[in-house]
Amino acid sequence: MQISKEHLKVLDIIVKISMDNASRSFSKTIKHAALIQLVKTDLVDISEITEEMNNDFREMVASILRLEGSLNGKLMFMIPLDGALTLQDFYLQEEPGTAKEFDELTEGTVQEIGNILASAIGNSFAAGLGSMLLPTPPQVLCDFAGSIFAQLIFEESVDNDKILLTETKFKLSNTEIDCYFFLLPDLTTLEDSLNEYEKATNINP
């Protein structure tokens, strides 16, 4: 796996700009502030990240999408099940505690939040790259964190020991709910895209 430190820095800058845009869209969608607590871009060891996820025994709801265009990749929005129910109440503007168990509305809420976040990321990258980046329809999963994460990285883990991963952690204001957003860029398209982005924006890492 080849990616230079300079490209990693450029990617980190783009991801931070993208996540600012994504958090605004997220907050507007649920009409509550979604505060960014962490944005991290790194080459990570698959066995380490898998172990970390397997040690998280919370049941999660996740929305997995692909980003297709000049830069390909996978995106995942993941939130603990109890958080997803709170998110559903926010999104549907219901009284807190209205949603009691995972159902079609919970699935739809996580699906739509994943779509809004992925679109915001695609819009930010597309603005820099000057080409279209489109999300695919989301797939929604409800399972333990480790199982969901294994599905996200399944293809990459077949041939690689490390993956390039950007991780963003949001906290929903006035709640104890954390949620996560992962971007797994496809390395074959990433380098060309970052070169184009550098040229277009004059970013000098």
């Binding site: 999104y91 509305l105 809004i116 679109s119 915001a120 597309a126």
Partner: protein, 121 residues
């Protein structure tokens, strides 16, 4: 009362749009979950307006808009999408959409756009 068909693969989005439109005296005559369903429901219901998502399984909103316009050149389709990219806006216009709203949207924005489209008849 103007008759509207809502097209979106997410049930919660259809529910929210329906709530907003119903409160503003629109008549939501049907809902479709993808582009193929959209064309079938359009032919069956002949609504005055269609709100159309873009990212959907089976057939996306651009293809569905082309198909609906091919069936009825006077159809009024308003796109509702999180995709805020000029190339997609062009594709939507070329497909025959009359307006484009970027998600997440304000309720007033949907109502003002739909009323504008209706009054432009």
């Amino acid at each position: 009362m103007k008759r509207v068909l809502i097209v979106d693969d997410a049930s919660v989005v259809r529910m929210l749009i329906k709530k907003v439109l119903t409160q503003a005296d629109f008549d939501v005559v049907g809902e479709a979950v993808n582009g193929i369903d959209a064309l079938e429901k359009y032919k069956e219901l002949r609504p005055d307006l269609v709100t159309m998502d873009i990212t959907m399984p089976e057939a996306d909103g651009i293809q569905a808009t082309k198909d609906i316009i091919a069936f009825d050149a006077k159809a009024k389709v308003v796109m509702l999408s999180g995709i805020d990219q000029k190339e997609m806006l062009w594709q939507a216009i070329k497909a025959g959409a009359v307006s484009y709203i970027v998600k997440p949207f304000e309720n007033d924005r949907i109502l003002s756009t739909l009323n504008e489209v209706i009054n432009s008849e």
